[in-house]
Amino acid sequence: MTASFTLTPVEKGIMRCIHTSKFSHEDVRSLANFLADYHGKLLIDLSETTSEDCAKQLKQFRPMMPTAAIIGVDLDPAALEIPDSYYVHEVRHFQSEEQALAWLREQ
């Protein structure tokens, strides 16, 4: 069985996470473990996911995310809202990969 997300390096300090299909329970657990261990920044590409799965998973993964830029999907900004707190990292939505990477490099 193939995982529903892939992780590939973009450049030093930034990984690309592509969400490719519906999450299984195992995928969610693997991603949660990855996020607990990962200390860099993320470029999250959601171009190959369904809006329903995307909305469901984003809400739950949002508190665990490092500084991240999301591309590849039309996103309601409310999906990324989270109560402000000291443990929360900034996550933004961008229309293009170029914009997203430019922002990530500044963080």
Binding site: H25, V28, A36, H39, K59, M64
Partner: protein, 419 residues
Amino acid sequence: MDTQNAIDVFIKETGSQVAAELEACTRCGMCAEACHFYQATGVPEYAPVWKFELLRKAHEQRFTLGGKIKLALGIDKPVNEEDLKEWSSYVYHACTVCNRCALVCPMGIDIGHLIAGVRTGLSAAGFVPKDLEDSVQKQIDEGSPLGVTDEVYGQRIDFVDDEWEVDIPVDKEGADTLVIFSSIEIMKFPQDLAAITKILNAAGENWTVSTKAREVVNFGFFDGNPEHKKLILKRVLDGAKEMGVKKIVVTECGHAYDALRWSSYNLVDVPKDLEITHIVGLIGEYLESGRIKLKEKAFNEGTITFHDACKIQRTGGHIKEPRMVMDILAPDSFKEMTPNKEQNFCCGGGGGVIVIKDADPLRYAAFELKMDQIKEVGADTVVMACANCRLQFVDCVGHFNLDLKVAGLSQMVADALEV
């Protein structure tokens, strides 16, 4: 800002025991060498003895002849607003109330308690750093400093139930044990909830979580306001009373354990027969009694070390249990840091320091001592049983770009359970 409020609290805090401790201090400076903030920066004002100076000064000026004469002759000045502002940075930004200083004090002074008294005075006068004050207010208003409202709590429990395929009992009638997670685990490390569920279920514990007593952290212990401490403690204890449980288990949180297990008895009514323990203590009990069994040598690769949390190991005394786990899971790969156990250095993020953005440079500086310890032992994995320490480690691993895995003890135990 009301300076007199602070002075009144300093005087009130100075009961016979505190007065004796203030008089007993010889200013030997040994506490300075024990403090990670002083060691990391060399700033003399970060020495613990200096951090409780306002308490001593207020006591001296109010109760001693020498203090009164110095005031009358203008040799000394009364505590003023500038003092309070200055000390706010010493006791909130550069102190995690880890109380390592008390261990080395030749006069046996409970220095952490004195510094907490300074925080109480500063809180009464309105000198709590804003970031911390906002988090405390959030806990009072919403029940959690990290935004875990009733709705969010339910959603996170459902998330863990669904995705980790466990069954967390919620408000279960007739449960013996109430398990209360910290909001750091709920929001940042939800896998901890699943791990602890697996351990408790494997042991056959009759347990529940409560939608009323759903937050174990107590930020009142960070700002120092006794009313905040009591209010938050009462929420937990009222929930426990309502459920009729015999035991409360604090999960991977340090200060919450200190608050409930040790401090609560001096602040609120704690049911007489209610047992309060930490998940690490419970894991130790389960292992000793054979209620759970772990796969031997399950993590016996690389070099693993254990970070002793100030409030769980130094204050709480749960020193042998993590070693018991390591002896089973990593008999060859486990190596102790130096210093360790009750002498271990704080991670630098406790006592509310991690909440205060302006304290970040100090927090990172203090962590450098921890980095040295880890480097010396050559560890590639560091394990701990406090989610706040873990948050500090994860943040610092990123900040310093370290090649170090940070793990929770409960997670390791759950992953190694013999089913």
